[in-house]
Assembly symmetry: C2
Homo-oligomer: 358 residues x 2
DNA sequence: GAAACGCGGGAAAGCGCATTCCAACCTTGC
DNA sequence: GCAAGGTTGGAATGCGCTTTCCCGCGTTTC
């Protein structure tokens, strides 16, 4: 029992294909009431379901939005995915998902796949990588994106723009103020009394990580403090864990500068892990080597992942409206209610127990 | 600059449409070497990208797998999504995502949408709801699924089968041994010395929750213990939190049965929250009212969510190979390397600090 | 009352591709 | 050397739908 076609519905209702099409699938010409009734009844009776592929071929749009993520199971991305998904649903479209596992070639491939499916728009989330090793692949990605755009597709990137892209390319972007927020985090931490810092950053060239690092240092400088030490590691939980185990003892042994003047304890060092899962890993690692948070060492993260809100000690972090990021990206490419927020997305520094001083 | 078509490539290479089609998009007839070369070169030069919609229309499959989830941002589902995504990628297909937010009508709509796109297969994850209120919508879902299947689609359900479905329907399923594992958890907890239990369950009719509850009681019975008290609440973090705040004081005041015989403390009650996020919420709630875990009250969860592995105290839970669940579902519907695992999926009870007795 | 007009419905031309026939060609085998 | 069988490339058809164009009809206008 193959699905019934529009043609069958038309015949069953005693009208032409054109008429059936007009009444069932939106057209600017609405056939007369009686006929519409009849067609709709026939469609119902036959259990007609329009073939979206054929429609897509005939009209020139597919109703598909392609979403490219590094990893759906990462809470950062899954939250963005949720925002995208919701918005897209409002637009009566559907989302096609691709996970790249941070691979640039996989990303290029995903773009090509979406292009092949004639996706109306593509939203890319996830940090760009910008270093020599990646430059060849970055330009392939750029080329693919340009071709896609030239064929009428819309592109939005969440976070840093595509490496090498030019404003004229017309790629939309939803900037994430990583730099500013990290700077503010540094300022707040300094204001709270922290003096020495260590940043657990991702690999060099990972733009999000680099931005957060740079912003943090900037904030420190504004506060009149020395720049933080930097330790590069994996941009994930294990990176944070490994670094903590490796550095734990050394870091804890550092002398707290004002220990002489101000009585008493508190951690000598405040560690800023450039994202929450790294921070969680780091905390686990520090504990592994016998350090207490925040008594022996303070830890701050970035993202404010929902699942981690009940973590103990409560994690100091920067809240990012992840779902909104996704929604904003969709608004950029599919139009609709784009509020006055093209200016950007807000975030908030949240100081919690993990960086508390006695 | 519209995308170039196969026809243009063929003309550019001086061959027929048929030949070009045969060399570029897999066919069982491979044209001769020289010609293939030429066609491929032309395609390259013109930047040809096959139109998947047209291909889908001509062949009768779309290369699309539809994935239906309750909520992408829920770590349970996002992990399944990851498994599905990976497998699907291996099959050179693409995944279409739908989130229902636990709405049955949304689920039906998602199925219809996927059917319209002529998805090759549909994978449904997420607990079924089985109660009177849902029965009308459940049968609509069932009807939609049957129609989809009748048109040649494959269906796989992770967890409990579709409510009302009959084995003859031929829907694949990836059973999750919720009952057995909960039973085992109860047994292990009993063996560890716990005697009184409280289950924080989801709303009645939510099959996953009901199964875990029933299994737990069963395990308790086998261990010769009294059945646990049951408190129904939301199947999410806030449900756990609310219940904990509400019940905290009362629960903590309960007398530990063998307190007379065996010296000393330990929690009087062990709380089993039917999923990890509820457990986390419960822990936060209990703390809110001044209770310590596990000294004053023990808490266990279910799922072993990855992000929660570094939680303190480490959460006793049941590990479920979520990504494998997704992979298995894809294997069922798309074939391929289906190991000898159609028998089912394994899980493991993991006793951690959150239920430790002194 | 005739001409101009608007409107509702239908015929038909694609959209970009896979695939079934066909015809021409090239191998074989005896 | 010739027929039978196997290849190979091409013409044509159709997948299910949208949309343009056209035609016939009932209205309006002077």
């Amino acid at each position: 029992m193959p699905a019934s076609t529009l043609y069958e519905v038309a015949r069953h209702a005693g009208v032409s294909l054109a008429t059936a099409s007009r009444v069932l699938n939106g057209s600017n010409r609405r056939p007369g009431g009686a006929i519409s009734e009849r067609v709709r009844a026939s469609a119902d009776e036959l259990g007609y379901i329009a073939n979206a592929q054929a429609q897509g071929l005939a009209k020139k749009n597919s109703g598909i939005l392609g979403l490219i993520l590094h990893d759906v199971s990462d809470p950062y991305f899954s939250m963005i995915a949720r925002g995208v998904q919701e918005s897209v649903q409002d637009h009566q479209k559907v989302v096609l998902l691709a996970s790249t596992g941070r691979g640039l070639e996989a990303e290029r491939h995903a773009i090509a796949t979406f292009a092949a499916r004639r996706a109306d728009a593509i939203v890319i989330a996830g940090s760009r990588t910008d270093n020599d090793a990646a430059s060849a692949e970055n330009s392939l990605i750029l080329a693919e994106l340009r071709r896609y755009k030239a064929n009428g597709g819309q592109v939005a990137v969440i976070g840093h723009p595509v490496v090498g892209s030019h404003p004229d390319d017309g790629f939309h972007s939803v900037p994430v103020p990583n730099r500013e927020l990290s700077s503010r985090l540094a300022a707040d931490l300094a204001a709270a009394g922290h003096r020495r810092f260590l940043v657990l950053a991702g690999p060099e060239g990972l733009v999000t990580s680099d931005d957060r690092l740079a912003g943090f240092q900037e904030g420190l400088r504004h506060a009149g403090l020395d720049p933080a030490d930097v330790h590069r590691t994996g941009f994930n939980r294990d990176g944070g864990y490994g670094a903590a185990v490796e550095l734990g003892a050394r870091v804890a042994a550092m002398e707290r500068p004002e220990q002489r003047t101000r009585q008493g304890g508190g951690p000598a060092v405040c560690v800023f892990a450039v994202n929450d899962v790294m921070a969680i890993g780091a905390i686990a690692g520090f504990r592994e080597v016998g350090l207490r948070i925040p008594e022996d060492i303070a830890v701050a993260g970035f993202d404010d992942i929902e699942t981690l809100r009940d973590f103990t000690p409560a994690l100091t972090t920067v809240q990012l409206p992840l779902a909104d990021l996704g929604r904003a990206a969709v608004a950029r490419v599919l139009g609709g209610e784009t509020p006055a927020e093209p200016a950007g997305i807000e975030g908030t520094v949240i100081l919690r127990r993990s960086t508390e001083l006695p």
